[in-house]
Subunit: 328 residues, 2 copies
Amino acid sequence: MSLKELGELGIIRILESILGSSARTAIGFGDDVSAVKLGSGKVAVLKTDMLVGSTDVPLGMTFRQAARKAVVANVSDLAAKGVRPLAGLVALGLPANMAKRDLHGLAFGLRDGEREYGFPLVGGDTNESQDLTISIALFAIAEHKRLVLRDGAKIGDIVAVTGAFGSTSAGLKSLLDKKKRPRQLPTPLYKAVFMPRAQLKLGVKLADSGALTASIDSSDGLAWSFHELCQASRVGMRIDEVPIDRAAKNFALLYNYDATELALYGGEEYHLVVTVKPNKFDLARRIADGKMWQIGTVTERSEGITLKRNGNYVKIPRKGWEHFRRYA
Amino acid sequence: MSLKELGELGIIRILESILGSSARTAIGFGDDVSAVKLGSGKVAVLKTDMLVGSTDVPLGMTFRQAARKAVVANVSDLAAKGVRPLAGLVALGLPANMAKRDLHGLAFGLRDGEREYGFPLVGGDTNESQDLTISIALFAIAEHKRLVLRDGAKIGDIVAVTGAFGSTSAGLKSLLDKKKRPRQLPTPLYKAVFMPRAQLKLGVKLADSGALTASIDSSDGLAWSFHELCQASRVGMRIDEVPIDRAAKNFALLYNYDATELALYGGEEYHLVVTVKPNKFDLARRIADGKMWQIGTVTERSEGITLKRNGNYVKIPRKGWEHFRRYA
């Protein structure tokens, strides 16, 4: 059996079963970040995410944008836990025929990331590789109890998101399908695909407020995030409405897509999906300067994960972006 | 200009110039590890090293051995600084056509590494990639002043190594050259190439003893290590003799290689190259259970880096294993 047939979840299951976990670990495999107990209630927060040229870099993305995005993807997971990175490392796999000016671009993209999110890349490793590879590892120190994990959602909590969805998905579909590719991508779709942003400031402020009970970033798709949060917290979710980006709506109308599907089953979209204590939702929304939409409620696990469509709550399947297997 | 023409040093120079350094950083790019100040004299020690299938995995190496070696390469750099890893992360780039049993092998190899060096891999990331990629990041906490850096060698210090050299080089040459490939690689050469070991226990004990003034691991080749230590410490070195592994000597005799060249310009050999206070050399050797050879003396920078051959001290050129450019 090949890894293609096994799929990313199958791969992760094998790795987890053999590597196991450790008493040292505060959070092991399975949350947005890992954490190691340091004593006195502190944990070291560790995160790694690898960007691979052949699978993660869409047509037309510059080396500078790709390197910046590699940083963003890592920072986003820390943002979801409410933690600022203290420092990072970068391991590079670079094709031998890559041009010097592209290396400059790549380095500037890494620097863009450092500056936007206020931490230094303090070391790294360079290698020759057939496939462009940018592997970032981030490090932080935090109070253990301050980390907003995936497993804290309680029945009755408000489900909220920090942005509108679908623009990354629409932008990528537009790039992949020649017939549906406009001469120039509309600016919001271009920005979503090529210059995504991690919600670091917002994630830290929300964690500080104590309003959140659980949090995850939406990088594997919104539907996927619902499922991950619910599985970790052993709850269900009733979603009333998914906020859809206006440019994504236009794209869907123009090219006959279901805008809700674009919003649910995309990926590489770095918003936060959070559950909020009902009596603290106003506080959270104030902290977010309005960048927070109530989209549903946490329910009993047995109710499953449903979305209101045409007046009825229908199940949201566990689909999303998974490497090795490509969902429609 | 392509990266092939630029060479690894040129690449690193560009990355360093654009990424720069930071006040936060105790050690930036340029030592075996990076370190970030945490206050109270403590530092977080960070290290990443990436193994790439097409360039770092010799013919005949199993997935298990490759994954284990990826851990060893990272641990060796911490060993040289005298620091035990607290936890690690692993980011994987895996070819879609890789077999499930090979993924099992890879996971077991990572576990071998965890167990041999006593730390857990607490998280990671999996990706599809054309080129097998195993990117490890290690994390530790240490007293800043306890780290044995590259820049502390003083004139008059003893230069010492913790092993005999040349077996990895001989093994690799044997594998690469069909004419010189015996039906079965002699065990010491096989072990050197496929099951190298990092000197973690020894490195920590030596750092504890306070006998060392500088330290580096020999993974980029012995000659390269001399040059790195001397450059960082602004000194020279007079090397009287290089200990050569017996199996490497036999290989050299049999196939007409210069054994000293094999020992000096190899790589992927994970011994420690250290400078020792003269009045503490006996202590260091006792701590090392005899696994420590005095090979020379630290001199003024102006004397350069020389090796005694046929009664004369001749310059040791700065050659070694460098990705992108291949030295003879």
